[in-house]
Amino acid sequence: MQNKKKNLLQVVMDNLKFPLLAILFSFIVGALFIVWTGHSPLVAYRELFSGSLGNFGRFGESLLKTTPLIFTGVAFAFAFRCGLFNIGIEGQYIMGAIFTVGAGWIFRDLPGGLLIILLLLSGILGGALWAFIPGILKAKRGVHEVIVAIMLNYTALYLSNYIVRTVLNPSVLLGTEKKASTVMLPEHGRLLHLSKIMPAFGYSSVNIGFLIAVITAIVIWFVLFKTTLGYEVRSVGHNPYASEYGGISIAKNITLAMVISGAIAGLAGAVTVAGLSYKVDQAAGMPGYGFSGIAVALVGQNHPIGILASALLFGVLANGERKMQMAGIPKEVVGIIQAIIILFIAAEQVAKYLPDIKKKFFKNKTQEVQK
């Protein structure tokens, strides 16, 4: 038992070492850029962190920013565990959001609790449907999911715009004037703000969507590591041939993993709509959650619990960025910091190479071959 605990600590340390290094490094590079703009990095970073952690309200706003990142990070990680690269979270999110609004209209007369559950389920359905396409095409026809998903992202964007402009437009449903957004979600279909339970959150609009996100992460952790479904998904991700040999259907698991990933992405859309925006706007571009989700998942080592931490980091960065902007520091600095974190994590092998390089240096011997 003693032994096991030590192992756990070691595992945690091993997994943390690298992301922490990456974060540190990218903050240093970020500082160089800040200096370049003639600002003090110390001031900038103080603004950044006070703006996101300075008081409960601000912290609440950071959690609000964190919420969709948890979802999209976990969504990405789940597919990734099955060896799939779900770059289509963007589109699945959009579909989840628009489905939610649609359901909000159709079921507007249902009582609150039931309506909210239906809304979340609709979001899940929207995302899942959209992810089913690349999933089934990969499983049955071997089409690369990345390309299909990219194509579907744009398709979702335009489809959503069309729906906003016509089907769900207040001018169509309510006969009022035409708007660039859908009808609003009815009041009783909106998620409760946490400040209602914990007044300390004050003005912050962080809502129970955050709790849903955390629960989702925990559930996905359980599914991945404690259930046969997760076992099969991970097996297929590591070795599809062996999985097939063990009676596991590759096609089924690929499709399922993609669908679940999309469902989580869709849930992100649902929670954002029901907890924050209450509608969907006509948009000229992607919301960008998909790409952030990839980053969050990678920094979190594709582990749901790690993702909770890394989503919080990215949420803090994104929220704190506001205060940096207010202090006159270009918002791009945060983008650069994020890019460098991802690059660093992507090149994880650097760390593995370091000992090798050392060895070479000292012994000047043979090239080592990694298994």
Binding site: V143, L298, A339
Partner: protein, 309 residues
């Protein structure tokens, strides 16, 4: 007829940046590297083309700068994915984010405002072969044709020649299919891959320049609007072949031109959103094998480890 020529001319212009980037994609993927960073390299190219032209007033120097910027950006992908064996798609994603941020950052630094640079005085937006426009009937096809349009087709021919008619091309294709086989006959797999990623950076750089210097003579944030991803799709659509990639790019260009011309052609009863979806949906259908299966180079996406079996 006039409308058709206009449509064609429009498609050619819209396809030009796609052709360059898709060719870049062909080179990288043929050598075994997935290149999702085309978009980022295009952004870099578009920006530095304008930056250098702004300060030197020599647009061709701007194009050169775009190429260099593209190549340098591509080297991030090369080093991280070839030597350090990082996940190629992840590295690409990061490069895209990086390029978006850094260009916006430099834009503010240099022009003291955000969003958009000034127009450069001299750009490359005009047809270098004006006499072609006097050809009866099809002359209109050439109006608004920038040097980049011609260059794109030259690039297709050169790429085809290099890939299929030279020893270097043979080696590229071998490295993408079976790097170990190439290694055992003394071909430096890493070197080939570096060169190919570099070529893609160069191509995407020109592609970006064709949009900034060649089209609107300024740089705007977000101006590439996902064209790098479309180029990637065009490359796959074109079955990893330069000529195929060209036709796929033309198809995408044509779809967009069609959408623009919808009202003149009289089918604006189709909601524009659906016309916009057309190329994407078409790609999915093609990829699904309903029109013919495309086969990727075997080794694409996997890092090659020397001395490993």
């Amino acid at each position: 007829m006039v409308v058709f020529i206009a449509l064609l001319a429009s498609a050619l212009r819209l396809a030009t940046p796609l052709i360059f980037s898709a060719l870049g994609g062909v080179f990288t993927e043929r050598s075994g590297i997935t290149n999702i960073a085309l978009e980022g390299m295009m952004i870099m190219g578009a920006f530095f083309a304008i930056l250098v032209t702004e300060f030197t007033n020599m647009p061709w120097l701007g194009v050169l700068a775009a190429m260099v910027a593209g190549i340098l950006t591509s080297m991030i992908l090369a080093v991280l994915s070839i030597h350090l064996k990082g996940n190629q798609v992840v590295v690409g994603t990061a490069i895209n984010l990086f390029a978006t941020s850094i260009t916006a950052f430099l834009l503010e630094l240099v022009w003291k405002r955000s969003g958009q640079t000034d127009s450069v005085e001299r750009a490359l937006t005009t047809n270098p072969f004006h006499f072609l426009e006097n050809i009866p009937l099809i002359g209109k096809l050439f109006s608004g044709m920038t040097p980049f349009v011609y260059l794109a087709f030259v690039a297709v021919a050169v790429s085809y020649y290099v890939l299929y008619k030279t020893p270097f091309g043979l080696r590229i294709r071998a490295v993408g299919e079976h790097p170990r086989a190439a290694d055992t006959v003394g071909i430096n797999v890493y070197k080939i891959r570096y060169i190919c990623v570099g070529i893609s950076g160069m191509m995407a750089g020109i592609s970006g320049a064709s949009m900034s210097l060649g089209t609107i003579s300024l740089f705007r944030e977000g101006m590439t609007s996902g064209k790098g991803f479309i180029a990637l799709a065009a490359m796959i659509f074109g079955k990893w072949h330069p000529v195929g990639a060209m036709f796929a790019s033309l198809f995408f260009g044509f779809c967009e031109a069609l959408q623009i011309q919808a009202s003149t052609l009289g089918f604006d009863f189709v909601p524009s959103e659906f016309l916009q979806m057309l190329p994407y949906v078409a790609t999915i259908i093609v990829l699904s094998g309903f029109i013919g299966r495309a086969v990727a180079p075997k080794a694409v996406g996997t890092a090659y480890e020397k001395g490993h079996r």
